[in-house]
């Protein structure tokens, strides 16, 4: 009988070995690092295929046919949930041949069109309009932020910073301008000043994002080294 503790120990050992193989990139690009990378990619792809079959395809397209037979196709409710998906899948297979690839464009067009509509609609209703309204918040110091509890001068300064950052960033991305005789863009000094402020905001934002990514990697590095130390301690303890 297989001991679960042994399985956990082997799994822990393999995990430690793969961690060392990945960390070997510190020396140079080597076969151990590449082997670990390829292994992760292969395992992830295989696992994704298995998940897609067990969680999406089989319960959605196969199980109804196996459970109810082809009589399920005669039901009106299955037209949208079963027949049309099968038809789109079969049409998608025509993409394999260049001569029949035009037939496969229908499901692709459906995917792209619906996806774009959902994304754009969500961006407009969920981001553009609410954020525009948020940028036009009142400067009344008496108003209190519902979640942060900011109020008074603190909130006023914070709102002004957000407003300045939004406007200056938008002005920085305004590339239309009159052309001088020398060929350079003729932009007003005020516009140039706001664009410069916008560039500062953009730099700060990217710096914060990079610092956050670096902090995240430091957390990961700390966890991996601690894991290796635990495994090493386990070996030392026997």
């Amino acid at each position: 009988m297989i001991d679960l503790a042994s399985i956990d120990f082997i799994g822990t050992l393999v995990a430690a070995l793969l961690t060392i193989m990945v960390l070997s990139y510190l020396v140079a690009d080597n076969i151990l690092f590449r082997l670990a990378t390829y292994l992760f990619i292969g395992v992830a792809a295989g696992y994704a295929g298995a998940i897609a079959w067990h969680n999406v395809l089989r319960p959605g397209l196969v199980d109804p046919l196996l459970r109810d037979g082809f009589a399920a196709l005669l039901e009106p409710a299955t037209i949208v949930t079963l027949i049309i998906p099968w038809a789109l899948i079969l049409l998608l297979f025509f993409k394999l041949s260049p001569t029949t690839s035009r037939l496969g464009s229908l499901p692709l067009a459906l995917l792209v069109g619906v996806g774009a509509a959902v994304v754009v609609g969500g961006a407009v209703t969920g981001t553009l309009i609410p954020q525009s309204i948020a940028a036009m918040e009142t400067l009344d110091p008496a108003v209190q932020a519902p979640l942060t509890g900011e109020t008074g001068v603190e909130r006023l300064i914070n709102v002004l910073i957000v407003l300045m950052g939004t406007i200056s960033t938008l002005l920085y991305f305004r590339f239309t301008a009159r052309r001088k005789a020398s060929g350079l863009a003729d932009r007003s000094k005020l516009l140039e000043g706001f664009a410069y402020i916008g560039r500062i905001f953009i730099s700060i934002t990217f710096g914060v994002m990079y610092a956050g990514a670096l902090i995240a990697t430091l957390i990961v590095l700390t966890e991996r080294i601690q894991f290796l130390w635990d495994v090493f301690s386990l070996f030392l303890k026997g």
Partner: protein, 770 residues
């Protein structure tokens, strides 16, 4: 200075030049010159095919057997016999049933003329002799020669189609046809052959006929016996027409000759009444070669003025004389041009070659009689046209030539003087047109230049191309690779960080930290803790695991505090993910955090699994959660093969707002934004929390800080997680990594500080201009 004219371009070239300087054509024969003896063998005889050798040998043998050229006296001789034949010393008229004409049969096979006769004619004469011996045989012998039979057949066919010919000729042919029915061999084959030649060959290529001998030419009496009187209607019509043109009231009873006929023609003579187209051909022969015809003053025939019958030649030779034209006015003798030119620039003489001599063709007796009667006018015409070159075309015939025909002023040499073709399928023949100017001699450019004129731009381009080719051929020196430097800096920084983390981990004692935990609680953490702490326990919390396995270490420390808080409050947990690996990460985290809580799958937590479709799937899930996820992930045994929505946790969940909380654990801003955009309209009063990676927090923060926030809580970074644990009065993974994280941050800050100092010093020590 002697010159020679190019046969191709007719331009003058100096003598001795082999090729024309203007067109490149060869001026002298390529293989054998014209001075080479016919009997000489070419040098390449050994390479000559057998058939060509046989042909050449036959040619040599024939030349050896050829008699001497016929002396001018021969013509006189046959003319003399012709005169005697015309005076009544002729044989009786032949039997109409005979196949061979009388003039052929009258010939004696042992005469010297037979030696010049062609082979086919000799066979005819022999056969005629045999027929004479057997007079009972009146049928046409089939073995009389294929060519003769074919000619007869052709004659019969042509007689069957008289409409295409002139009335007079048609009438004559009809008469001949009727006679042919009674006596098939009535049609004179030589005449038919002459017609055929006239139909096929151009006018300037018709060979002149050989003067017939006395035996060949029958008398007019004989001819008059052969041709019925009623067949001479066409002549009567001519006489009537001539009468009308002369202005007389009525034609004379004896139907005098028309004006286009010679005025001296005595149509009242019974012999003249028998004039037919054959007679006209005889007159043509006399006109073609008047030098060979001696005028007979005793003849008072119709050909006293031979120039008046020139139209006969044209119409009859061409065979297109449906109607006889009126008399042509006499044309002056013009400069004639030869039809053919040999390579020696000598005009071709028809009288010296049997191939081009109409007189070489045996004529019937009736034609010979015409020739006899027309001898005197022909001689007069010859005197008028003494300057007419032999074998040239008369003016009227020259005028009928197509305009585009070749006209050269170069005289054509006699056939005997022409070179014998020594190669090719025409070997042994004379008068062959040279093929070398067309196929053998390469034509040179008329305008040649030994200097290449190019412009400066072209020269520059050529020079550029030359340099490019040179550059391609040039062997580039091997670049010395810079010696690869070992990444010592990277190794030093990595070593520092690893040692710092290890030092913090090793030095830390359990339950304590080397680095103090955050003293000041973040401003956003209290509302979040309060929110989670006040969640209704009867509603499940939905956790969205939308991060990749690479962020597992971070979210194990950050998200576990929320999960621990939920578990501690016994709130059922439901997981879902738009990432493929999300359900497995959710299971792993729950197992790690819920190890102390004895969680049961299907009772304390349930995995909805993978939600495929990206933003569309999120919207669909927010609108109808039960329709978007059909089964689940790692369902308990009692729900094996069924849907996760059948679990006790999700019994009351129909919409997204039925969850007590929705927490999105993601490392990417896009996933967080999608959930904020797509799911928030369907959330209702259900709070939306964001557990973010440190790098994604700045972009999601506006959704949180607005007056109408779309995100009710944000938890990000290890410091907040440690603070949350402290608020939760429980130490977990966040506090366990606090020392190592702080040590690594210190190393990073030290490295950044060292790098900044190094850069500043380097910038200060950098030598500047002026």
């Amino acid at each position: 200075m002697a010159e020679q004219r190019c046969p191709m371009c007719s331009k003058i070239n100096p003598e001795g030049v082999e090729e024309c300087a203007h067109c490149g054509a060869r001026l002298t024969p390529l293989i054998i010159s014209s001075q080479q003896t016919p009997g000489s063998q070419p040098e390449s005889e050994g390479e000559t095919p057998d058939w060509l050798a046989r042909i050449r040998s036959d040619v040599e043998a024939n030349k050896d057997q050829d008699p001497e050229p016929e002396e001018p006296g021969d013509a006189d001789d046959w003319l003399g016999r012709l005169r005697s034949a015309g005076s009544g010393e002729v044989e009786p008229a032949p039997d109409p049933g005979e196949e061979v004409p009388e003039w052929i049969s009258a010939r004696s096979p042992d005469e010297s003329v037979d030696q010049k006769a062609p082979e086919w004619l000799s066979r005819i004469r022999k056969r005629e002799k045999a027929l004479r011996e057997n007079e009972e045989s009146k049928e046409k012998p089939a073995e009389s020669g294929d060519w003769l039979a074919s000619l007869r057949g052709k004659t019969g066919e042509q007689e069957a189609e008289p409409a295409a010919e002139g009335d007079w000729l048609s009438a004559l042919r009809e008469t001949t046809a009727r006679d042919a029915e009674e006596a098939p061999p009535q049609t004179p084959e030589p005449l038919q052959e002459l017609r055929d030649i006239g139909d096929i060959l151009p006018l300037d290529e018709i060979p002149p006929a050989e003067p017939p001998t006395v035996e060949e030419v029958p008398s007019l009496d004989e001819q008059s016996d052969d041709v019925p009187v009623e067949d001479q209607d066409w002549l009567a019509a001519f006489q009537e027409e001539a009468f009308v043109s002369s202005g007389a009231d009525e034609p004379p009873a004896d139907a005098g000759p028309p004006d286009f006929l010679p005025v001296e023609m005595d149509l009242g003579d019974p012999e003249a009444d028998d004039v037919s187209d054959e007679d006209i051909f005889a007159a043509l022969d006399a006109l073609e070669d008047p030098a060979t015809v001696e005028p007979d003053p005793s003849l008072g025939g119709p050909f006293r003025e031979i120039k008046d019958v020139e139209w006969i030649d044209t119409t009859d030779l061409v065979g297109e004389g449906p109607e006889l034209p009126p008399a042509y006015p006499p044309e002056p003798v013009s400069q004639h041009t030869p039809a053919l030119i040999t390579e020696d620039q000598v005009p071709l003489s028809t009288g010296d070659s049997q191939d081009h001599d109409l007189e070489a063709i045996d004529l019937p007796d009736w034609l010979g009689e015409l020739q006899e009667t027309g001898g005197e006018p022909a001689q007069e015409a010859t005197k008028k046209d003494q300057n007419l070159a032999p074998a040239t075309l008369p003016a009227w015939l020259e005028a009928m030539r197509p305009i585009d025909t070749f006209r050269s002023s170069v005289e054509i040499e006699p056939v005997d003087d022409q070179a014998v073709e020594s190669a090719g399928p025409l070997a042994g023949l004379r008068g062959v047109l040279m093929a070398e100017p067309v196929v053998a001699i390469p034509h040179q450019a008329s305008v040649g230049s030994g200097r290449l004129d190019i412009s400066e731009r072209q020269f520059a381009q050529a020079e550029l191309l030359h340099r490019m080719v040179d550059d391609e051929e040039r062997e580039l020196p091997l670049e010395s690779r810079p010696r690869r430097q070992l990444p010592f800096v990277r190794w030093v920084i990595a070593a520092l960080m690893i040692l710092a983390i290890l030092g913090a981990i090793v030095s830390a004692s359990p339950g304590t930290t080397s680095f103090p935990p955050p003293v000041r609680v973040p401003q956003d953490l209290a509302p979040l803790f309060t929110l989670v702490d006040e969640l209704p326990a009867d509603k499940p919390a939905l956790l969205v695991f939308d991060y990749s396995p690479g962020y597992t270490a971070e979210f194990d420390a950050v998200a576990s505090v929320i999960l621990e808080h939920l578990m501690r409050r016994d709130i059922a947990i439901t997981t879902v993910s738009t990432q493929v690996s999300g359900p497995l990460l959710a299971e792993r985290m729950i197992q790690r955090v819920g190890r102390e809580h004895d969680l049961v799958n299907g009772v304390d937590y349930i995995h909805l699994g993978y939600l495929s479709g990206g933003p569309t799937a999120v919207q669909l899930f927010a609108a109808a959660p039960r329709e978007s996820i059909l089964r689940g992930f790692l369902l308990p045994e009692e729900l094996e093969g069924q849907s996760a929505w059948l679990s006790v946790i999700l019994n009351d969940v129909q919409r997204l707002s039925d969850f007590g909380m929705v927490a999105v654990i993601t490392a990417g801003t896009d996933n967080a934004r999608v959930w904020a955009e797509q799911a928030h309209p369907w959330m209702g009063d259900t709070p939306l929390l964001m557990i973010l990676s440190t790098g994604a927090e700045p972009l999601i923060r506006p959704y949180y800080e607005s007056l109408d926030p779309q995100v009710e809580g944000i938890l990000t970074g290890l410091p907040e997680a440690v603070a949350y644990e402290q608020m939760n009065a429980r130490s977990a993974d966040a506090l366990a990594r606090w020392d190592g994280f702080n040590a690594s941050v210190l190393v990073v800050e030290a490295v950044l500080l060292a790098g900044s100092i190094y850069g500043l010093v380097k910038w200060l020590l950098k030598p500047r201009r002026s």
